[in-house]
Amino acid sequence: MASISIPIPLRDYAKNGVLGWLATVDHKKIGIMYMVMSFSFFIAAGLMALLIRLQLAAPNMQVVDPNTYNQLFTMHGSVMIFLFTIPMLVGGFGNYFVPLMIGARDVAFPRLNAFSFWITLGAGLVMLIGFVFGARSDAAWTAYVPYSTKSFSPTVGMDIWLIGIILLGIGSTLGAVNFLVTVYSMRAPGMTAWRIPMFVWAMATTAVMVLLATPVLTAALIMLVADRNFNTQFFTANRVQLWQHMFWFYSHPAVYIMILPAMGIISEIIPVFSRKPLFGLRAVVISTVLIGLLGFTTWVHHMFVSGVDPAIERFFMFTTMVIAVPTGVKVFNWLATLWGGSLNLKTPLLMCIGFLATFVIGGISGVMQASIPLDQYVHNSYFVVAHFHYVLFGGSVFGIFAALYYWGPKITGRMFDEKLGKLHFWLMMIGFNVTFFPMHFLGLQGMPRRIATYDPGRGWELGNLVSTIGAFLIAFSVLIFIINALKLRQGERAGDDPWEGNTLEWSVASPPPEYNFLEIPTVESDRPLFDARMRTPHI
């Protein structure tokens, strides 16, 4: 008996053309779009940072006028946080790898996923196009009232900024719902709690934080939009602290939203490149969840000089210091994983080592600032600028590049050039520390953040000049990364599993087929692929 096969026509969204990308609901394509979008915003905000550093290279420089300077640092912070770090980690890596790592064919709500992406891109374009055409906010990313109210920021740029952030909040809230449902209900058979990969644990915790924190920020933003345009009186005089409470109730957890996924990434990479299991896996998971919970109890440490009741301040000093304990546990667990391992010092692991070496400095300076008397000195100074760049660049950005080098071959099917990768790492590591370490001293010497210029004779000249030189080193290192990415086309083929990975994404082709898994795998340990390799005798 003869059989005939009838080819099923591909739906538009399954094709690869422009329409295929525009209409896609595939988590991998959406993930790639998030990554490309976020990286473009990273370049834009990085260029702003270079202008900022040029302006501060020497006293009384006039590279840009003070107005433009204030708009630049406002946009630099806003874009780096809302349009680069969060969408890259959550939207990009989260989308692409959470379903692959838990053995699912897509996220729970693929269309909602596409909606989250397009609203995020739309919001980003609203903010950036507004900026290019002169509708700019200059109220800093913190937008403190009353400066951000109509009386002191009358221009439409402030409204555009507010609306952009509101839209981004919608995108990330929907994304968080999607991740939680996906992780909760779509894990492969056998993937019990202790077998869930670390990156997935981090993403789930992050999603809970996004869900709990974002509505408070969105409410505050809407209240401010209403104050500005409909004469409501939410943030009138005597209520300047209300904004600060609502803003930091989101924005402090936001720090963990930006760092937990990066911690998840290095918890994946370090074991693979050490050929060892993650040391104290359960402790790392519990620490992750604890950081997520405690992250909600520390926001007033941003307000130690704002005029909060002293008893409340002491409570928040305590909680802020407590959060250092689970963070420290993770650092020691990573070190113990490296200890006694067989370290494959390729670029992904180097980036993780960069993360550890620099994040620790940010963690230590974080505990220092949690001390109220010290904060009464360093608050809002360049010491703080140094601190959060050690956390968000030293932590998140090194984590992001670790992930790009680690997972890039899976996404593209090609290997990065290892020599360029190493050059990128070393230049970025040196450039980063040259840029940001001197800022500790500048802050201690009394230099406030967000100043457009300064007079000579305050002892700030050398530190600023050195910092500016470092910023250009970082820019150069990123340029090398871009060259490396462009060269991927000629890269050597990656194969399914170039790094001897532990998790399910390495069991499928690179790039993975649209359906991810022909057959949904069954998981029997926290390192399914490692165990499979051990069962197969070496040839």
Partner: protein
């Protein structure tokens, strides 16, 4: 840190030095372990397989409990320092930093605190600090706060527009100065010049909102004060353009005004002052001819001449006005 000159600043500095030692120990330990691991445990052959260690309860307990103790110590030291800063009998703040302006009880606590020799009202506004001295002489300054040295001083501060922050690193804790609220600062300093600046972003000229404190021995202070009181009523010599230029470029004028080729790069004022003397009118006000007499009137109280103008009353002295007029009329 900037060397402290008050007891409060010294307490902060001492605490910083202790915590820095603890921080350095953690730093060296972690970075040392990291560097050692990277060197010692490099992969030497492609097929080596290290021992599969999943964890170690004792070690893990150790690196949970020891950091917890460390953090508890830092917490304890911080609370102790806070206690010393506000202990009974000390000059500094025995009450909270900031109080709503209508909080009568808080105000009474401030009044009941350690008696002070001089209370100065401070108003922070975009982008200048204004200091109002007590007594009926109407002495106010905005360029610097002059105080008698080694006396107990209290500043009663509020903001006229947005949030500002009072930060004099040598003199003690920073504090926000909120609109609609009062903030209080106490200090007692030896003779000298101290500098700081606004530390909450407050707009285009935030970087130029500098605070200067000059502490003079009592006799010199009295002399200075008498001169101010006198200069308030009349200028003692004709205006000097060089002195006027100094006042202009080192004061708050440059926050808003632009003069080509100088430090004055402010862009708030609608017209630049590069060729001010050749303008027919002042403040683009029809009929308000640009001459020395009108310019002096304008500088004395801009709001009275043109209500609603962005230029605040800077409480300039008669002599300062003479000097500024002389300078501004040289800009052709």
């Amino acid at each position: 840190m900037v060397p402290p000159v008050t007891r409060d600043a010294e307490l902060i500095s001492d605490l910083y030095n202790v915590i820095l030692i603890l921080a350095a120990i953690v730093f060296v330990l972690v970075e040392g372990l990291l560097i050692y691991s990277v060197i010692k445990f490099r992969r030497r052959s492609a097929d080596e397989m290290p021992r599969q260690v999943h964890g170690n309860r004792t070690l893990e307990l150790a690196w949970t409990i020891i950091p917890a103790i460390l953090v508890a110590v830092i917490f304890g030291l911080s609370v102790d320092t806070l206690g010393r800063m506000t202990a009974r009998g000390t000059l500094s703040n025995p009450v909270a930093h900031v109080h709503a302006i209508n909080d009568v009880a808080a105000r009474q606590r401030v009044e009941r605190a350690q008696p002070v020799d001089l209370v100065i009202e401070v108003i922070g506004r975009q982008w200048v600090w204004q200091y109002k001295y007590p007594g009926g002489d109407g002495v106010t300054t905005s360029e610097q706060l002059v105080v008698p040295a080694n006396k107990n001083i209290r500043l009663d501060m509020t903001a006229a527009d947005v949030i500002h922050a009072w930060w004099m690193p040598e003199l003690g804790p920073m504090i926000y100065v909120n609109p609609g609220e009062m903030s209080y600062v106490w200090f007692n300093v030896p003779p000298g010049d101290y500098i700081g600046q606004c530390n909450v972003y407050c707009g285009v000229a935030h970087a130029r909102m500098i605070s200067r404190v000059k502490a003079l021995p009592q006799a010199e202070y009295d002399e200075w004060y008498a001169k101010q009181a006198a200069a308030n009523s009349a200028a003692t010599r004709p205006g000097d353009p060089e002195i006027g230029k100094n006042i202009f470029l080192n004061g708050s004028c440059i926050a808003c005004h632009y003069i080509e080729g100088t430090k004055a790069q402010g862009r708030v004022a609608p017209r630049e002052l590069t060729r001010f003397a050749s303008y027919p009118t002042i403040a683009q006000l029809d009929g308000f001819e640009n001459n020395a007499e009108n310019l002096a009137k304008w500088l004395r109280d801009p709001q009275a001449i043109k209500p609603g103008t962005a230029m605040p009353n800077l409480n300039l002295k008669a002599q300062e006005i003479e000097d500024l007029v002389a300078y501004l009329l040289t800009l052709k």
